[in-house]
């Protein structure tokens, strides 16, 4: 390995990146924009879900209940209707996401402690807001019930603070609100850094398409030097993102950063090395840019989304996929980012993952160098 | 000028890119049915001029009429009537020879029978019979060039623009290619060609020399030779060509001999000087002094290459 060769390739690649302004800006901006949009879209606070209420009871209690249901800004009363057909029509047209049907016996059953005669109807095509409605209506119903029954229960000489006698004292560490955005954003960093990895594959395909690779192959430059030299500038591009992302996350989404930033930076560099080596392997096997694009989805983006445990817990996966996820740099990096952003741990905890990342990076580079022939045809 | 007699009329054609003037007010006219050679060094504005004539670039100033149609306004009308072979990229590399030809033919609206016939002919002309299913990228440079040319004239255009059509083509094919151009011209097809082979330029009916965007000579090869060549050319066949050139150049530098130009010409040396008869003996003496036998010496008619080089210097 000659540092001089390496540096020559790096410098050339940096010139390329810098001189094509439009691409340079896009390369820098895309990961950040993607992260921002994904984070926003995935974690919008659900509110103002339009619902319809069909009150067959029309009692004081049911009216008070309706009042209670719609007092927050989580659920919006879209319409008070009088037939099930109207509920159906509204659901079909997508004007409401859920409906609450209060049975004629609502008040009676409640007083007799027979339970809550309620039905919640939700639009199964959008369970996101439907599920939300179920949860919130259920919660309100329970509250309402507890209050309504409080005086009655006291007469029975039992203690029942609520209708949920088992008191769950939940403490959520590292992300007290349990908002998904807080942990998805650190997780998603590994996804969006797939873009620099793709760029590496593209530049190699580009050099093949334009014949410049032929001239370089005729020089004594080593395979590993060539591959590493093409990779390192994109590691740098990725690192610029790595610096910007925590700042963006903090300013726009108020994501904390509890760990050591230098450590984050260092491990991100290792991760980029590993991920970009994957991109490089693509570039080694692929001749044209469209092919590199297509393959990058199958190799980098899809697995990065599904198999790295950002959205789907690795523990729940079948054995074979769990093994595969171990071979993806994103899996280890997601653990590292969550640890540094949220848990605030250090290398004492994260070292196994860091070692894995490094190992994967070296392994991928070696595979790339092994299959990269300095030959044409 | 009767526009019917002319395939191309360019008036004050100018193209500027920013503050760089690529083509600077050139005027020329190409008669129908002639081979018009457009010569100039690399970067002198040849390709830019062709692009303007094809309506790919809008002239900054001036105008050009192609086949009687003003290009700037109605480029679309002339496209079916002209053929164009660009310098490097006229073929799709991942397509096979046949697929490329078929694409050209259909694009220019040839019907199936005619297309089959023309493709057959084109393959023959390019020497690619039996290799129709080879991917274009697997062809050697010269063959690709021949294929591109056959494709450009597949639809028998009235006027064909050829931008360095024979670059990298071997001499045998080049001759076959020029034979073909003559056949085309016999069918009243006009050929506008750029080339770096000056021996090819000799075979053009008329020529234009362009340098730094300006037209510096215009006329038939004979006219150009007569009007632009200062001095005569002495052809020498010395024993050691390289050494002879060195010796004569040294003589020129030191001012011992009033030579305009000393150039190696294959195994021969061409020396240019005014009133060559007076210097012939001195040249021979100079060579002998350096132990080079001058061999056969003769004043010859200047070749276009001699003229071109004299012009461009």
């Amino acid at each position: 390995m000659s540092l001089r060769h390496l540096w020559a390739i790096i410098r050339k690649e940096i010139h390329h990146i810098m001189r094509d302004r439009a691409t340079f800006i896009l390369v820098l901006l895309t990961p950040i924009a993607m992260l921002f949009l994904m984070a926003y879209a995935l974690t919008v606070d659900i509110e103002h879900v339009p619902i319809a209420i069909l009150d067959f009871d029309r009692s004081t209690t049911s009216r008070a209940f309706v009042q209670r249901i719609t007092e927050g800004k989580d659920l919006d009363l879209y319409a008070l209707v009088d037939t099930l057909e109207k509920v159906e029509a509204l659901l079909l047209r997508g004007e409401i996401k859920a409906a609450l049907v209060i049975a004629p016996t609502f008040e009676q059953d409640l007083v007799a402690l027979r339970g809550m005669s309620l039905q919640i109807v939700i639009d199964g095509t959008e369970p996101e807001s439907g599920g939300f409605a179920v949860e919130h209506i259920g919660g309100r119903a329970e509250e309402f019930l507890s209050e309504a029954l409080a005086s009655y229960i006291q007469t029975l000489d039992v203690s029942l603070d609520s209708l949920q006698p088992i008191d769950l004292r939940v403490r959520t560490l590292y992300n007290p609100s349990l908002k998904p955005r807080v942990d998805l954003i650190p997780g998603l960093i590994s996804m969006v850094l797939g873009f620099p990895a793709l760029s590496v594959a593209l530049t190699l395909a580009h050099e093949r398409e334009h014949g410049t690779l032929e001239q370089v192959m005729a020089t004594p430059v080593g395979r590993a030097e060539l591959l590493l030299g093409k990779m390192i500038p994109y590691v740098i591009v990725g690192l610029i993102n790595v610096i910007v992302i925590p700042a963006v996350a903090r300013l726009t989404f108020r994501i904390p950063f509890n760990g050591s930033f230098p450590l984050f930076f260092l491990l991100s560099a290792v991760f980029l090395f590993a991920l970009l080596s994957m991109g490089m392997i693509l570039g080694v096997f692929i001749r044209t840019q469209p092919a590199a694009l297509a393959l990058s989805f199958l190799v980098i983006f899809f697995p990065g989304f599904f198999l790295t445990g950002i959205f789907f817990p690795i523990a729940s996966m079948p054995e074979i996929m769990r093994l595969e996820s171990l071979g993806l740099p994103g899996t280890h990096y997601a653990i590292i980012t969550r640890g540094l952003f949220l848990t605030g741990v250090g290398l004492d905890v994260l070292w196994p993952y860091s070692v894995m990342l490094m190992g994967l990076g070296i392994a991928f580079t070696m595979v790339g160098a092994l299959f990269f022939k300095k030959k044409l045809g | 000028m009767e526009s019917n007699d002319y395939a191309i009329i360019a008036r004050g054609l100018t193209k500027r890119f920013g503050d760089f003037t690529a083509v600077d007010g050139i005027d020329f006219a190409v008669r129908r049915g002639e081979i018009f050679g457009f010569l100039g060094p690399n970067g002198s504005g040849k390709t830019t001029t062709i692009r303007m004539m094809l309506g790919l670039l809008r002239p900054t100033d001036g105008s050009v009429q192609v086949l009687g149609v003003p290009v700037a306004e109605r480029a679309k009308q002339i496209r079916p009537r002209v053929g164009y072979m660009s310098q490097r990229f006229s073929l799709y590399n991942d397509l096979t020879v046949l697929q490329n030809l078929r694409f050209y033919g259909q694009a220019y609206g040839l019907n199936n029978n005619l297309l089959r016939e023309r493709i057959q002919h084109a393959l023959q002309m390019a020497g690619l019979e039996g290799r129709g299913h080879t991917r274009t990228k697997d062809l050697s440079g010269g063959w690709r060039q021949r294929l591109a040319l056959s494709a450009a004239i597949l639809h028998r255009p009235e006027l064909v623009f050829l931008d360095e059509p024979t670059a990298g083509v071997d001499p045998v094919s080049r001759r076959a290619f020029w034979d073909l151009l003559y056949k085309l011209v016999a069918q009243e097809i006009t050929v506008f060609v750029t080339t770096h082979y000056m021996d090819e330029a000799e075979h053009c009916h008329r020529l234009a020399f362009i340098q730094r965007g300006k037209l510096i000579a215009h006329g038939s090869p004979e006219e150009i030779k007569r009007d632009t060549m200062r001095g005569q050319v002495l052809e020498i066949a010395p024993t050691e060509t390289a050494k002879a050139v060195k010796v004569l150049r040294a003589a020129r530098e030191s001012g011992r001999l009033p030579l305009e130009e000393v150039a190696m010409y294959g195994a021969l040396v061409h020396v240019v000087a005014p009133q060559m008869e007076q210097h012939q003996a001195a040249i021979a003496a100079e060579l002998r002094q350096a132990d080079v036998e001058p061999g056969r010496m003769a004043i010859i008619e200047p070749s276009l290459e001699d003229v071109f080089i004299a012009c461009m210097r």
Partner: protein, 380 residues
């Protein structure tokens, strides 16, 4: 008449050429056709699987019958893989910090007594690892379920109610259009719609940028194609492959995940074709704007993400700020997803979907006209 046939012939020649490119460099079309299918399989598979096997620690300080009931109930949920009972808090703390467990349940020493006493208030302490909110939330739901089942028994006992009399305090639930509340049923159509958008956009975006980068565009421009013919000729493969892609993905989600087609299939196919045209227009604009394929790709990713945000797939559009909701109306993918869900799951037709169809048509007209103009100008 003659003019027409030669025009068709030119378009034909261009489309054939494009198809040959596709066959020769087959990764891209293969990705278009099967990448979507793979993505859908992954999504369908991942979302239809319950979350199981979450590592959980229990610290049982009570060691009573009641506490053991809790532990057994937790195990029976199937959500958890119970790691060994923890000896002390430190172990739990450490495991949480290392991210080895998603949740921990601590049963206090007096749990049994509190359950038994009529005025007791049994407590369970729960520690969640918020650094992984998705499994943490799933864990919390499961624990809540266990607690409320237990709680119901306690209530019945304390109030002296008969279980048969008791209807339960939770409201009953009915899910329309998706009775089993299968997640695959609503994620896969949305994913299908988005994949169609993305692949079409990407494919279209490469069409000109690639020829420009390789230098062949110049030759194309001097051939007697009108710019309209070039656009149409280059569009046909995109539309065909995109449409085929759609049919393939649709059949796949139907067979693999039982996604029904409750509405009219012909209507859906026609609208899919229309939607393809709209996305094609966008892709072509990106294509002539970009100098390189790399640029085209990055712009496609940005645009695709932007659309994704407005489709209501990840988050309900109703919950977004007013201004964002307005923007959603001019995003074709938003209307397309509404149509797709409507026809597939709700079984509605034009009588309900006409506002979306109309919006899509108007957007198509605007985008189409603009892109035609723009691409033509760029080509001339």
């Amino acid at each position: 008449m003659l003019k027409w046939t030669s025009c068709v012939r030119r378009i034909w020649s261009l489309s054939i050429k494009e198809f040959i490119h596709l066959i020769n460099d087959w990764w891209m079309p293969a990705f278009m056709l099967f990448g979507g299918v793979i993505e859908l399989l992954l999504v369908g598979w991942a979302t239809s699987r319950p979350i199981t096997n979450l590592p959980l620690m229990v610290l049982d300080r009570d060691q009573s019958a009641a506490s053991r009931t809790v532990v057994t109930a937790l195990e029976n949920t199937g959500t958890f893989a119970l790691k060994a009972l923890a000896p002390d808090m430190e172990t739990i703390q450490d495991a949480l910090e290392r991210g080895q467990i998603n949740a921990a349940v601590i049963i206090p020493p007096d749990f049994d007594n509190e359950v038994a006493s009529p005025i007791g208030r049994p407590t369970l302490a729960i520690l969640l690892n918020g650094a992984e909110s998705i499994p943490a939330t799933a864990a919390l739901r499961a624990i809540e379920g266990v607690a409320s089942d237990m709680g119901e028994g306690v209530i019945l006992e304390r109030l002296g109610l008969e279980p048969d009399d008791f209807a339960g305090f939770a409201p009953s639930l009915r899910v329309w259009f998706n009775e089993a509340l299968s997640e695959a049923l609503y994620t896969t159509p949305a994913e299908l719609g988005l994949m169609l958008e993305f692949t079409t956009l990407l494919f279209a975006a490469l069409s000109f940028s690639r020829e420009r980068e390789l230098g062949t565009l110049e030759q194309l421009l001097v051939m007697p194609f009108s710019s309209m013919e070039i656009i149409v000729g280059k569009s046909i493969p995109v539309i065909l492959v995109g449409f085929f892609d759609f049919v393939l993905m649709l059949s796949m989600v139907h067979v693999a995940f039982g996604v029904p087609v409750r509405g009219s299939l012909p209507l859906l196919l026609i609208l899919a074709l229309g939607y393809l045209l709209v996305e094609l227009g966008k892709g072509m604009v990106i294509s002539v704007m970009s100098r390189t394929q790399h640029q085209a790709f990055l712009v496609v990713m940005m645009v695709g993400m932007m659309d994704f945000m407005f489709t209501g797939y990840a988050a309900p559009v109703e919950s977004m700020p007013q201004i964002v909701q307005q923007v959603a109306n001019v995003i074709p993918a938003y209307h397309w997803l509404t149509i797709l869900r409507g026809v597939l799951l709700k079984g509605v037709g034009l009588e309900v979907l006409w506002p979306n169809v109309l919006a899509l048509a108007i957007l198509g007209l605007v985008i189409g006209t603009f892109s035609l103009r723009y691409v033509r100008r760029a080509l001339n």
